[in-house]
Symmetry: C2
Subunit: 190 residues, 2 copies
DNA sequence: ATTTTGACTAAATGAACATTTTGGTCATTT
DNA sequence: AAATGACCAAAATGTTCATTTAGTCAAAAT
């Protein structure tokens, strides 16, 4: 990747996470990146594509970190929890992710909405892969992997995000315990 | 309840479910109810209170229907499914509920947002009661009833509403089966 | 020749102002 | 004592116009 492109992506990522997508102007990105505005358009065909590119990097980063959390020697239920834990910790701690989720909630910028929807879809696809691997290895009983991944993701959103809207937050331990009790019982072989 | 009040509530309910809360004017409600506008304000102190009153009736109606679906001779897992099934069928078929949920999604009218939030809370409280009864009877193992009711509700939303946004809808049978497999396994005594 | 640039344009945004609509009141009527 | 609708302040909506901004491209820099 060219030096200029790197500067642009870095500047845009910083500006998006500081001010949000809508409040970031291409002039500003150009200034921050020490680049003419036209240069940005030699690498990205639009502001939206620039955002998409940055979010793609984030998705890769999350997948990488989630994979790092996997320990092949541990059983499926431990690993799936580690993966989900990692995904949601990222969601809660990464500045850019926080800002973009905020923007969807408060303003509903369509471009940001779409890109965050894709992030969710990709996380579900990632979990689905883990489920399919576990099924192939006979670690869990056979099930609809897409549906199961979807439910796991939704349940984590419920416990991590929705519950806190009206109650005291749940500790990671409590979440793990609940997840194990409710969702993983149904997948266990016996 | 006085005849005039009945006319007002009926007219408002009809107008809300036809045009939504925001697009309904008090003049219109008065016209439809064959009543002077001032009369409305002898029964309700604001437009919002009128909506709240109507939604309270809906909540009572749902609770009544959900209770009707309960058969004391059946086991807890059957009954809780019947209750949830009834709640979500109502959500999907009642014109007013449909319109109000639409309005929250598309416009986000605060008054409607609040009232629908209350509806959700009351549904969760209702399920919670059923769980506490089952716990008292020793039908299910001990658990945090509020948290369990919350998760059941969220899971039904996920299966009934969210899943359909990107996939083919699930049949009621499939939903029941999934619910039983994942959520109720964790509550069974053995 | 190739890359980079910023002045330029068409479209979007939003500030400021005018106009209309609407929730709620209350003096009057029934 | 109950019901009403003309009335009002405030909120919503429409309009205008100056500013801002995403994206382009001819010219400059390398």
């Amino acid at each position: 990747m060219s030096e200029k492109k790197k500067q642009i992506v870095e500047a845009a990522a910083k500006s998006f996470s500081l001010f949000g997508y809508k409040a970031t102007t291409m002039d500003q990105v150009a200034k921050m990146a020490n680049v003419g505005k036209g240069t940005i358009y030699t690498f990205f065909k639009s502001k939206e594509e620039l955002l998409e590119d940055i979010v793609s990097s984030i998705i890769s980063e999350i997948k990488y970190e989630a994979n790092e959390a996997v320990d092949a020697r541990l059983p499926f239920n431990e690993n799936v929890q580690r993966v989900l834990q990692r995904i949601f910790t990222f969601r809660k701690e990464n500045e850019l992710t926080i800002k973009l989720l905020q923007e969807v909630r408060d303003i509903g910028t369509p471009a940001v909405r779409n890109v965050m929807k894709r992030l969710d879809r990709e996380m579900i696809a990632f979990i689905r892969e883990k489920i399919e691997e576990a099924m192939a290895k006979g670690e869990i009983r056979s099930c609809n992997a897409e549906l199961t991944a979807f439910l796991m993701f939704k349940m984590y959103i419920a416990l991590h995000v929705d519950w806190e809207k009206e109650h005291e937050p749940l500790s990671p331990q409590k979440i793990a315990e609940l997840f194990d009790l409710y969702l993983l019982k149904g997948l266990s072989l016996r």
